[in-house]
Symmetry: C2
Subunit: 114 residues, 2 copies
Amino acid sequence: MIDLAGIKCAPCREDAPLATQAETEKYMQQLPEWKIGERDGIKRLTRIYNFNNFTEAMSFSNKIAVIAEEENHHPALVTEWGKVTVSWWSHIIKGLHLNDFVMAAKTEELFKKH
Amino acid sequence: MIDLAGIKCAPCREDAPLATQAETEKYMQQLPEWKIGERDGIKRLTRIYNFNNFTEAMSFSNKIAVIAEEENHHPALVTEWGKVTVSWWSHIIKGLHLNDFVMAAKTEELFKKH
């Protein structure tokens, strides 16, 4: 099985393919804590992480920001007291690309180390 | 006129008063860029700030996190590429307290210095 967390993000162009239903199901097996939602008609991959206070939540958001810069793929991070809601999607193709599942898997690895 | 940005947040207890309509209108005169919205039936004070990239947005979110800790009053910060959406409200009284207008004014000051 493909190890999502070990993959580098590919540069994502306008003609890059959205993940198919079969691919999505395959990738989601590695991301049991994540949910696919929709906002403004665009699918997003989302997970809520819980923490003990605001500072810990912010610290986790900052760690995600580092990998986002490294991979040049950026999430929406909702940082609140005791909670970070992470959403990944590919703006340019208005939906989910392999890159988003890769970043979700990398986020999981960050959380395990946090 | 009261200088919102110069006030310290008061500890907010369950029996603290929500801002009245008259108070809200008075405070909002100092916060022309802010909007009052509602989520899950709870009023929030919100503003979107724009930046050149993700790193600048994250940097601003971190500055807000510092004043949030100082005042022990915490927002929801949505950090995205080139954008931070800041929302202040008082969880414990399920709405807007003077503290929220104070924190919005302090956020404005941070942005001017950013």
